[in-house]
């Protein structure tokens, strides 16, 4: 369950009040008459879908009904910031100190990785015996 800070209401509210609306900062082609099929297709259908830092648009649908953006880690589900439409994120995948490893936070606050990892040498050796 997300606890999301709405940048307009200035309050943390529960996930159920919000709706995810997909990738943020999509720019509609500025010159529609001279836009190729390739560019239209990219604009309409192709998305970043990263495992890690992602910028996405949400709407506070049963609150102020305004759209805003969230920077969130799609592997850990950590919400890093929320900011109003028209503004740029202050945290991106290139920001230092952003957690990049895959995995999930477990109930006791620890960290658990998913799938085989290159450092799991012991596991691999065991499996190949």
């Amino acid at each position: 369950m997300f606890y999301i800070f709405c940048p307009y209401c200035k309050e943390h509210r529960e996930e159920e009040e919000f709706h995810a609306r997909g990738q943020a900062h999509l720019m509609r082609p500025s010159d529609p008459d001279n836009t190729s099929d390739e560019e239209w297709g990219d604009y309409l259908f192709f998305r970043n879908n990263p495992r890690g830092i992602h910028h996405e648009m949400w709407v506070h649908s049963v609150g102020c009904r305004k759209f805003f953006n969230i920077t969130r880690n799609t592997a850990t589900y950590e919400i890093l910031e929320t900011y109003p439409m028209g503004e740029q994120p202050t945290i991106t995948a290139a920001t230092p100190d952003v957690r990049h490893e895959q995995g999930v936070q477990v109930a006791d606050g620890g960290w658990q990785t998913v799938g085989a990892r290159s450092e799991n040498k012991a596991l691999n050796e065991e499996a190949s015996s």
């Binding site: 369950m1 990219d42 879908n49 592997a75 895959q102 596991l123």
Partner: protein
């Protein structure tokens, strides 16, 4: 390979079942293969199996970062049906259904395919119009499908609430008799055992960390167990397809979402069929063990966490109680989330890419399990011949630029 039979069961009972052969090897990666399949789930293993069995390509490796069938193959609601609206999708899923019918015999492995039928309920006039349209389209494509009235529904599934007291009264349904459910793990294991016996190397705990690409041609993959060469690589990685595509410098029109399912405590047999409703949005069947297997919608946001949110569980169970009020007191046992790669038109991508020799089979979204044999079969044919199989050809990635989408949101059963 040790063949399984009733006689074998009796023979091994005498030895206290201690002498069964291992179902597959755990080999060291070779330096070079003819074909590498990235992803050891149902679709990947099926692809490897058909490559070796029907298309004579036996020097094949399946590279899996975790263990076999540990992703969505182990995390779905096991429904098999083919009542899709459009010709292209109907052909693909019906090809799959045809293969399901003989799969246990073909694999010499009991996949427990049970053709108990699927009901797709309609709760509004528009639902019923859509159902009639889909049923007619199905019949023109040779898929068994019929429209049933509430009275007939009551005979098929007596526990459904067809009264007018319901918040969304049931007005009718589409009924596909030949649809059903199968044992999900057995599908992966059966294909794995079959492929291994034909000489396919199943490489578990081997994570692809990059692709070796030169002059627009694929030369192999980098893994945490060294580099492996091949001139043909097929990626069948479901929710992680986007991550792989990124490594190869390709963009896919996919978004990965968590899709949750739940099972209840085991009950005595109470459901005859699979019941699905798009309108109240939930689907339910009963496993042979007795637990109710329940699913519904995806979480709306992109997520790779293999877990979903509580509001989605709540909506799911509301839908189930709307259809079957008597289940309101059933306790849920387990809940899980799989990562589904959803496509804008709710149809999969089986396609070549701009990198020569690199193929993707992905975007199955919320409905990949039913397609496991068919997807594996047509993808194997495409990899072996270097040309997309006629059934797979319409599912090319080009359709997102040409506009030839195959919109199956209505038949997909899960809104996204």
């Amino acid at each position: 390979m040790q063949r399984y039979s009733g006689f074998g069961l009796v023979k091994h009972a005498l030895g206290h079942h201690e002498n069964w052969e291992r179902q597959w090897r755990n080999p060291e990666p070779k330096k070079r293969y003819d074909v590498i399949i990235v992803g050891g789930g149902g679709h990947g293993l099926a692809t490897a199996y058909y490559l070796a069995k029907e298309f004579g390509v036996k020097n094949v490796a399946v590279v899996e970062k975790g263990w076999l069938g540990g992703g969505n193959t182990a995390r779905n609601t096991t429904i098999v049906r083919s009542n899709y609206l459009w010709d292209e999708a109907g052909r693909l899923y019906n090809h799959s259904l045809d293969l399901w019918k003989g799969l246990s015999q073909d694999l010499n492995y009991n996949v427990m395919f049970s053709q108990r039928g699927v009901l797709n309920l309609g709760h509004t006039l528009q639902d019923m119009r859509d159902i009639q349209r889909r049923v007619h389209a199905n019949r023109l494509n040779g898929i068994d499908s019929e429209v049933v009235t509430p009275g007939q529904i009551k005979e098929i599934e007596p526990q459904l609430d067809i009264s007018s007291r319901a918040r969304y009264p049931i007005m009718g349904a589409s009924w596909q008799k030949s649809a059903g459910v199968a044992r999900h793990d057995a599908v992966a294991w059966g294909y794995a055992r079959g492929a291994d016996a034909l000489g396919v190397d199943l490489l578990q705990n081997t994570e692809v960390t990059g692709f070796k690409i030169r002059d627009g041609k694929i030369l192999g993959v980098h893994t945490n167990r060294g580099d492996i060469e091949a001139n043909t690589v097929g990626c069948v990685a479901a929710g992680n397809s986007g991550v792989l595509a990124n490594m190869a410098g390709i963009k896919l029109p996919l978004e990965s979402h968590p899709l949750q399912a739940l099972v209840s405590e085991p009950l005595k047999p109470i459901l005859n069929t699979v019941t699905m409703s798009n309108h109240v949005h939930g689907y339910i069947s009963q496993s042979d063990k007795g637990d109710l297997v329940i699913g519904a919608g995806i979480d709306g946001y992109v997520g790779y966490g293999q877990r979903g949110s509580y509001p989605t569980i709540e909506h799911t169970l509301q839908a189930i109680v709307e259809m079957f009020p008597m289940f309101s007191r059933v306790r849920m046992n387990r809940q899980w989330g799989g990562i589904v790669d959803t496509c804008p038109d709710a149809c999969p991508i089986l396609s070549k890419t701009k990198v020569k020799g690199l193929y993707f089979n992905c975007g199955w979204g919320t409905g990949g399990f039913k397609a496991t044999p068919g997807s594996g079969h047509v993808f194997a044919a495409s990899l072996a011949k270097g040309e997309m199989h006629p059934i797979a050809a319409p599912f090319s990635i080009d359709r997102f630029h040409t506009g030839a989408l195959i919109d199956e949101h209505g038949a997909a059963g899960v809104a996204h």
